[in-house]
């Protein structure tokens, strides 16, 4: 073969390859029209949402799995797979009537046995199952389940509605076989508007429309009411780098991207290629204090000194950036929420180093190092810890940062001898009993006579007004005994394609896309 023929063959070969690439690209573009591609911050640990509280698992899982109740736009639980319920006078026996004719993705129809088995597994092994405090859960009719509580639990309906680590309903044979083990992808069978297709590690999780989905007839309201899978396929793609997530939406490769850095908000909010979605459900930073061991254990005066020294506005400005994305709010629950309260919040955001010095002196503090455990995986935690260290230094309080990665922090915070304070954050919670610092076994281990008495009042009634009053008293105690310091409300910032039309304007805690068009 001479040089001319070689060159010709090379050109023809390259042209053929280019043609193949172009034709394939056009076909791929057509397929994309019916698919919503969601760029996630990473890979979820498991989509068996009963067993874990990872936000991403809930965001994906809520499309496949449903709970007996779901929250409406005001945060009130409304029936989803449940039809109605009756509660006994003593508040301990709850009889739930189920909807009839609800199909699972595998073709079976949901029965009371499925619901009882799912709730029982969640009660035994679920991430939040113990919070219900159920003595027994039984199928007491074809479409009736009876929950008997060991103690009155005013939060029962919220607990059954919360999808994060919550009691989603699977077929009985699947939960029975799984027991305490996470359910494997082959058995991701639920009743939701989307069904599981495949999970390819490091590539995507794919769901497709469930044609036989039995929707509720009420109009959609928050997560409650009718759900319609208007987009054929949902693909959740792990894209770890935030710049790539942004460019991907600008390029049209992704329709939605989560957790965009706050410092990009000013640049992106006016970009015509992007529709910003600020969350309507703030997450809030928490600096936990060790109630079991160390210098802060039982020393409420010293904790109050720490709180008095802190300037939350400054910490939020530095760690979050744009003022539209944070609120220096002392109430644990945001304004507009049924649990919103100003009780105790006069002690929030004091920025008073002199008062802090005086309180520290009263507490007998002599400049001993206070160990603050923080991870670099969450930039906001790290920034806030650095700001707090400096603010506390101005009040004569000596903070030593122990900087690790998140996996190490999770390990070390379980060892009470290893730390005095640690940084974390808290997602939106539907009920005060689900707040991590209210859980005496969560690292921090807050328990006191006053706390236990307040908690008993909080769960001892189903009456909302009484529960709100009990929570206000508890929140005031939180600002007195300070199991954890609330840093402030942070509204996460997601972005989407301007063509994507969702049923919500501000992003919910777990963005969902039934009813969306693109």
């Amino acid at each position: 073969m001479n040089a001319g023929r070689k060159t010709k063959s090379l050109i023809v070969g390259c042209a053929a390859l280019l043609a193949a690439v172009s034709v394939g690209a056009l076909a791929a573009a057509d397929a994309q029209a019916a698919t919503l591609r969601y760029a996630t911050i990473g890979e979820p640990p498991s989509l068996d949402v009963q067993m874990g509280t990872a936000t991403l698992a809930t965001t994906i899982g809520q499309n496949m799995f449903e709970t007996l109740y779901a929250f409406d736009s005001t945060g009130a639980p409304q029936p989803m797979l449940a039809e109605s319920e009756t509660v006994s006078e003593d508040g301990k026996t709850i009889v739930i009537t189920l909807r009839e004719g609800v199909p699972f993705h595998n073709g079976q129809t949901m029965t009371a046995e499925d619901v009882a088995a799912s709730l029982s597994r969640w009660k035994e092994f679920g991430a939040r199952g113990k919070t219900l405090n159920a003595a027994s859960i039984e199928a007491t009719g074809d479409n009736e389940v009876t929950i008997t509580l060991a103690e009155v639990n005013g939060a029962w309906k919220s607990l059954l509605a919360f999808p994060n680590g919550g009691p989603v309903i699977y077929p009985a044979d699947i939960v029975t076989a799984a027991g305490g083990e996470p359910i494997k992808p082959d058995n991701y069978v639920g009743t939701g508007p989307y069904k599981f297709v495949e999970w390819r590690p490091n590539r995507h999780v794919e769901l497709e429309k469930f044609d036989d989905y039995a929707s509720r007839s009420e109009p959609a309201d928050g997560s409650a009411g009718a759900r319609e899978a208007t987009i054929d396929t949902l693909q959740f793609v792990p894209v770890g780098d935030v710049s790539t997530r942004v460019s991907g939406v600008q390029a049209g490769d992704y329709d939605y991207a989560e957790y965009i850095s706050g410092d990009l908000y000013g640049i992106l909010k006016d970009d015509p290629a992007i529709a910003p979605h600020i969350s309507n459900a703030p997450i809030f930073g928490l600096m936990f204090m060790n109630s079991k061991e160390g210098i802060l254990a039982g020393n409420y005066k010293l904790r109050q000194a720490v709180l008095a020294a802190l300037n939350m506005t400054e910490a939020l400005q530095i760690s979050v950036g744009d003022e539209e994305l944070f609120s220096a709010e002392g109430s644990i629950f945001p304004e507009g929420n049924v649990w919103y309260s100003k009780a105790g919040t006069e002690n929030y955001n004091q920025n008073d180093p002199e008062k802090a010095k005086s309180l520290a002196e009263e507490a007998g503090y002599k400049g001993e190092p206070i160990r603050l455990l923080v991870s670099t995986n969450y930039q906001q935690h790290f920034d806030q810890a650095n700001v707090f260290k400096q603010q506390l230094a101005r009040a004569g309080i000596n903070v030593e940062l122990n900087v690790t990665d998140w996996a190490t922090l999770l390990k070390e915070r379980g060892e009470p001898q290893s730390w005095d304070m640690f940084m974390t954050h808290h997602g939106p919670s539907p009920d005060p009993v689900l707040l991590t610092f209210m859980n005496a076994s969560y690292p921090g281990w807050w328990t006191s006579e006053e706390r236990n008495a307040d908690l008993a009042k909080l769960v001892g009634t189903s009456d909302l007004a009484e529960r709100q009053e009990a929570w206000a008293t508890t929140q005031a105690l939180v600002y007195e005994q300070i199991p954890a310091v609330k840093v402030g409300d942070v509204f996460s910032f997601d972005i989407g394609s301007p063509q994507l039309k969702t049923t919500w304007d501000r992003a919910p805690a777990f963005p969902y896309f039934w009813g969306a068009t693109k």
């Binding site: 690439v21 690209a25 991430a127 770890g240 390029a251 990665d405 190490t408 969560y442």
Partner: protein
């Protein structure tokens, strides 16, 4: 000869056992554990402890090692704690992407680095040579992730010519068209390496051009083009080609950053994510495979010396 091969193989196996112990110990010495990462922030210590038990992570370390090593001997590297998939599948899937990415990158490196290096050498001292050498220095010193982000910004976000990230395999729907997902990452990865090959080609060309046989060729009246292509370039390429091997191996490790920026399901990104999640079986599996590869390659190189140069004594 056979005695030598047996001895070297035994030494390689001993190294492998020592390496496997070290890998296992060092990985488990890192604080943190997969159970806590998997269960999420709201998990209580009791729940974490229960999952540790289910995953077999509460067994003594040496027991865990023998389970793992015993299975590895039978070709089973265990299951990923995070993905609940065989580690061999996770490695194979990641390696497919990484090797393809490195191969395409090498094509860019050769297509850009060698010809431009030749042009620079042929125009030694000219403004073109100085410009190209300066540009090569600049490109070699720019971090790959920065190049990657700008390529995405220009060719994906602004012009919309190529996808910004991800990579569906060429063996799936889309077929060869999916190669377009690797164009920008391979260009980003090729940039510093092409610059280095350019400089190496230029330097090697200049060295060879001073050789006596080049002067003789010129004296014989052979055309400058023929002298450059047949006498200088062919000999200069010996040095450059030997650098390709190192470059290709380095690309696999350099690809970690590129794979992260472009969200590619490669082996580098898998390892980094597995370290963050404390997915011990995947980390151990990947490192063990890499150690095996190095040992086998070294063994083959040692043995090949005897064939390449009979003067080498095998002691």
């Amino acid at each position: 000869m056979w005695g030598y091969i047996l001895k070297r193989t035994a030494a390689a196996l001993a190294t492998l056992v020592a390496a496997s112990v070290l890998i296992f110990i060092f990985i488990h010495l890192i604080p943190g554990e997969p159970a806590a990462v998997m269960l999420g922030d709201a998990a209580t210590p009791d729940q974490v402890a229960a999952l540790r038990t289910r995953l077999g992570l509460d067994e003594p370390l040496f027991v865990q090692y023998f389970y793992w090593a015993g299975s590895a001997l039978q070709g089973d590297l265990g299951r990923s704690i995070f993905f609940d998939e065989p580690v061999t599948s996770v490695i194979a899937d990641g390696a497919q992407t990484s090797i393809l990415l490195a191969s395409i990158t090498m094509v860019w490196v050769v297509l850009i680095g060698v010809p431009v290096g030749v042009i620079a050498a042929m125009r030694r001292g000219s403004w073109l040579d100085q410009g190209l050498s300066g540009l090569a220095m600049l490109l070699a010193s720019i971090p790959t992730f920065w190049v990657g982000l700008y390529l995405i910004l220009v060719f994906a976000a602004q012009l919309g010519w190529l996808p910004s990230s991800g990579y569906p395999s060429i063996f799936e729907e889309g077929g060869l068209a999916n190669l377009r997902y690797l164009i920008l990452p391979s260009l980003a990865l090729a940039t510093p390496n092409a610059a280095l090959i350019l400089r190496l080609t230029r330097a090697s060309m200049l060295d060879v051009s001073k050789e006596d046989y080049v002067r003789t060729a010129r004296a014989k009246g052979i055309s400058p083009r023929q002298v450059t292509l047949r006498h200088i370039l062919r000999n200069a390429l010996l040095v450059v080609v030997s650098a390709f091997g190192f470059t290709f191996a380095a690309l696999i490790s350099e690809a970690v950053v590129t794979e992260t920026v472009f969200a590619l399901p490669g082996i580098g990104r898998t390892v980094v994510q597995s370290i963050l999640r404390r997915d011990y079986p995947v980390i151990q599996g990947v490192i063990l495979v890499i150690v095996c590869l190095y040992l086998v390659l070294n063994l083959l190189v040692d043995i090949s010396y005897r064939f390449l140069d009979p003067r080498v004594e095998l002691e």
